[in-house]
Amino acid sequence: MLSYLLLSGISTGAIYALVALGIVLVYKATGTINFAHGDQLMIAGFLAWTLHVGLGLPYLVAMAGAVAGGFVLGALAERIGFRAVLRGNLVNVVLATLGLAFVLKGVARLTWGGISDYLAFPPLVPPDPIIIGDIILLPQQLVVTAGALAVMGAFALFFRFTTMGKAMQATADNPKAARLVGIRVENIHMLAFAVGSAVAGAGAALMAPVTLLYPDIGFMLFIKGFAAAVLGGLTSLPGALLGGLAIGVVEALAGGYIDSSAIEVSAFVAIMATLILRPRGLLGGPPPRRA
């Protein structure tokens, strides 16, 4: 039983980690939480569904479309909705992102809300379970887990080896100093929102066969992703992955060994306990300075 629960916890945790990665990315660069992140993911998921199921395009094309769509959505959101408030009061930024979340949910309800209650997304891999000895796995869950690891690896490379990645890190460390050395901080912010949203697009295409698609899915995923980011440390990308996996595993173990009604609360109890002991999360550093 333990091995089943651990594996199921890891595969569910990978979903949370994928969401958390985008949240952490934006927070690192801008010092703000994007409350619309879950709904950006939801829109990207519907976009992938439209391309793959609606138009019959290959899965990888649909995934690329979701990533590109997410990127554009994030960039537009920053340019139109957030730029004016990013340098002001933090409350205004939070309200702007919350407002965007509601707008996106409304758009999804009107556009895709009349097709089915939950849209099924065909799995990328054959759906039959893989049995290795005592271990039983669903291939799509493996894909999500591998996807989360791949996205995190890509980010590590991006921050380490690209000029843009280094500029983002510099901005996150000290926006004023970054501005003094010629980095256009506003553009970095836009890039952070765009890349965060693109990550959501990749995550949406990966997890849609597991989660199904519906207009209200974004908020639930955001809450779990945010919890994962807080647990791992809001400034740490590996922390996002660790936090996501930890929450998934805690939920699975609580459901298996305590009671299924303990699943929902167990993760938050674990977070509270962790934050009492480590207020910055498992791998978190000091909060970024806002521009």
Partner: protein, 414 residues
Amino acid sequence: MPPAPRVAPPVNPHSAPAETEPMRRLSLLVSVAAAMLAAATLPARAQGAPGVTADSIRIGSFGPLTGPGYLYGRLVMNGVEAVFDRVNAQGGIHGRRLVLTREDDRCEPAAAIAATRKLIHQDQVFAIIGGGCSNAALAARGEIEQASVPTVIFAAVADGLTTPRAPTIVSTALTSGLEGVAQVAYAQQQGARRIAVVSMRDAWGRSRYTPLMEELKRRGITPVADEEVSPDANDATAQVLRLRQANADAVILLLYPKPGAVFLRDAAKFGYRPLVIGQSGIADPAAFEEQVGVPGATARFVTISQVRFTPESPEMAGWREAIQAKYPSDRLSVFNMFGIGSAQVLVEALRQAGPNPTREALMQALNGVTNLGTDTYGGPITCTPTDGRCNRTVVWIQKEPGGPIRIVGTTAVE
């Protein structure tokens, strides 16, 4: 005695100057024009009853028109409208056309209250046929009761809509309590000895869970497992393992399609295939099979339908054509069929209410509906002044993997 001198009324220096003759004429003309405009825009009330004119009866409907719940609103209303069109084509009800006014409640309680207020006070509807989602319809119940508007619930299943009895509300939808009774009866009929319950514990889930547990207790059955799955769950491994450990041979599933699909997917992962008994929240087994996405996982899944035919049945040919003619992008669905059955009950009651209908007469007619056959419901419809749960026939449906949807039985709940 000389007549008393006529005294000019005192002039208020702050009042408007006295009107001149041309101005008086102008204001008279404006008043007449305004009255004519009002007469043209407001429905004439031939009989004094709200929503009834010399040539029409306005019926209101509320339910989700947008969002994922639209199945229980827009599609059901399309079925209602198809019936109204047929009635109108045959001359209407005592010469009056039926007109449907729709309001979107998005499955949200606050929106449902606003929608019913608008229908009752602004649109002045004669009666209501609606209620797609339980929580929203429950919230609207107070408004309906206060205004004493005859109302037929067409899809929402909460027992609280009809129990305790609201004098002006009847339901042609199966209620959650009746479905629970039928679920337990079906499990026993199929020879299940170790029954488990898997439920959501939100308001929707509770409205089913509580009467189901009461029914199990009444029959002396203790569930071998009682598990919870959240509405947004993406994994049910823990619950499946616990059920497997408990060796449950039948699972009563009180879940929305999404958590239901996750549960069946994870059960299939472990090769655990008990009899799974759903309810009308999962009313489309074809869509559900697609949502589960694992071949064969739904092979032992049966669920409740309110209607005795599938949309593809030959008996539904006429309604298939009617729906497709009016809504070219739609194909007849079970949700349309809920609306067809419900509207036929309302139409019959409107006929019985006579040529000069009042809300009281309509309500009396609705409460007197006895053994009324409809084109879609599983059994006859009977309402009484003491029981507004008019539909008591549960239809069991199943979809063999890759095959068509089949009716596998009915349960009449006394």
